[in-house]
């Protein structure tokens, strides 16, 4: 019977172990260098971090990394067809109404340049949106004094809740164009909400309704462990 613990097999085992350690160390160093390069070479984030917004807050909220283009981030798509678009303005309003896409385009249009902050830690700066301000829709509907919150309703039952004063800010809109082009399918064509001051899950794609309510109604992600308010500068990511 062969002695499996012969000197030659010990030697082979030692070499094999040494070989493994060398390979593991090499892999670790390469990975670390790659990761280091990834972070050190992040010029966009570094430049933006040096800037301050008009309201005094830093341009880039904590924990965010700046990227060049908006990412789709999934969601169950609604119809991208403008002919099928309907937007209901309802709830605590004097004059509820419904718009089709032509009706949306017929209302006063506003251009907003705003940064987008996603809860998954990327930010996209200077996105150029065109659409109708929520405050204009609210004025047309005659929002009652009892209203405190806005519930954005979207395809397949998706909802997102926003405080009334934040929904009526001068940069919050129902957008149908991004960077000079009609909104693309992955970004919620034909129209989506845009609430730049909150994490972007509060800006539903494939928007179908805006409901004013007196009581808060946590939305799709809010009842699944995400923060009810979602301020990026306070890193309100999770509940």
């Amino acid at each position: 019977m062969t002695d499996i613990r012969s000197p030659s097999s010990d030697l082979l085992r030692a070499i094999s172990r040494r070989d493994f350690i060398q390979r593991a160390a090499t892999g670790t160093v390469i990975t670390a260098l790659g990761g280091g390069y990834y972070f050190l070479n992040d010029r966009l984030t570094r430049e933006a971090q040096a800037q301050t917004r008009a309201d005094g807050r830093p341009r880039v909220p904590p924990g965010q990394r700046v990227i060049e283009a908006l990412r789709p981030m999934g969601g169950t798509p609604g119809s991208p067809n403008p002919s099928e678009f309907r937007l209901r303005i309802s709830g605590e309003v004097e004059r509820p109404f419904e718009l089709d896409f032509a009706g949306l385009l017929a209302l006063p249009q506003t251009d907003v340049v705003a940064d987008v902050h996603c809860v998954t830690a990327w930010s996209c700066l200077d996105a150029r949106w065109r659409g109708v301000l929520i405050r204009d829709l609210a004025e047309k509907a005659g929002v009652k004094k009892s209203a405190r919150h806005v519930i954005f309703e979207a395809a397949h039952g998706y909802t997102a809740n926003v405080r009334l004063e934040e929904a009526l800010a001068p940069d919050v809109l129902v957008a149908h164009r991004l960077d000079g082009r009609a909104l693309a399918r992955p970004h919620g064509a034909p129209a989506r909400a845009v609430v730049p001051s909150l994490y972007f899950w509060k800006s539903p794609k494939w928007l179908t309704g805006i409901r004013f309510t007196s009581r808060d109604q946590p939305g799709y992600w809010e009842v699944r462990g995400y923060n009810n308010h979602a301020d990026p500068w306070l890193e309100e990511r999770y509940a």
């Binding site: 981030m73 999934g74 169950t76 067809n81 403008p82 002919s83 693309a184 399918r185 992955p186 999770y238």
Partner: protein
């Protein structure tokens, strides 16, 4: 003389249970693991769709009437004549032609066409749909049963093969590492 009673050997039963549950769990483990990997990196890619965009051009002038213009564009781009699901005039110079998985944004004055579309990633999209329980109803029971099955697999896995040092050998060390990982992460990151 009475026959000696044999002690009940529970480990073989445990191994059989573990093996059979493991077989049952293979399908769902692939569904949940693959979609977990896909959705974990949702900031880097769209796990449900392959999104694409391309710039095209058709010769001008286009017919003035929308349906005729759409038919002309489809013919110029060698697309099937009946593939337009809808045609929408956005403004005087822009026509949208909706196809099954794409939209053609046509500049009627210049003939420029931007095609943007989404091709579903068939298996991953289904796996993600199941993982996120978008279907609801009956799938909740299947997912709950799978979760309970995983708990049984994890528990039986600890006991199914006796180690040389009982529960205190390599198995205990590996279990401790597995438990320590989330505990350390929550501790060091500050938690929720």
């Amino acid at each position: 003389m009475p026959e000696p009673t044999r002690a009940w050997r529970w480990r073989p039963w445990l191994r059989a249970l573990h093996r059979d549950l493991g077989y049952l769990a293979v399908g769902l483990t692939f569904v949940y693991a693959l979609s977990g990997l896909a959705v974990n990196h949702i900031a880097d890619w769209d796990p449900n769709f392959d999104n694409y965009e391309r710039e095209l051009r058709v010769a001008t002038p286009l017919p003035a009437e929308d349906a005729a213009a759409a038919a002309y564009v489809l013919k110029e781009l060698s697309l099937e004549a009946g593939s337009a699901r809808d045609v929408y005039r956005v403004d005087a110079a822009e026509l949208q032609i909706q196809l099954e998985e794409a939209t053609l944004h046509v500049r009627t004055d210049t003939g420029e066409v931007r095609e943007e579309g989404q091709r579903p990633r068939l298996l991953l999209r289904i796996a993600n749909w199941l993982h996120l329980n978008r279907g609801k109803k009956a799938w909740t029971y299947a997912a709950d049963a799978y979760a309970a099955g995983l708990l049984v697999l994890a528990t039986t896995g600890i006991f199914m093969l006796p180690g040389r040092k009982g529960l205190l050998g390599r198995g205990a060390l590996l279990v401790a590492i597995g438990v320590a990982l989330p505990v350390l992460y929550v501790t060091l990151s500050g938690g929720p």
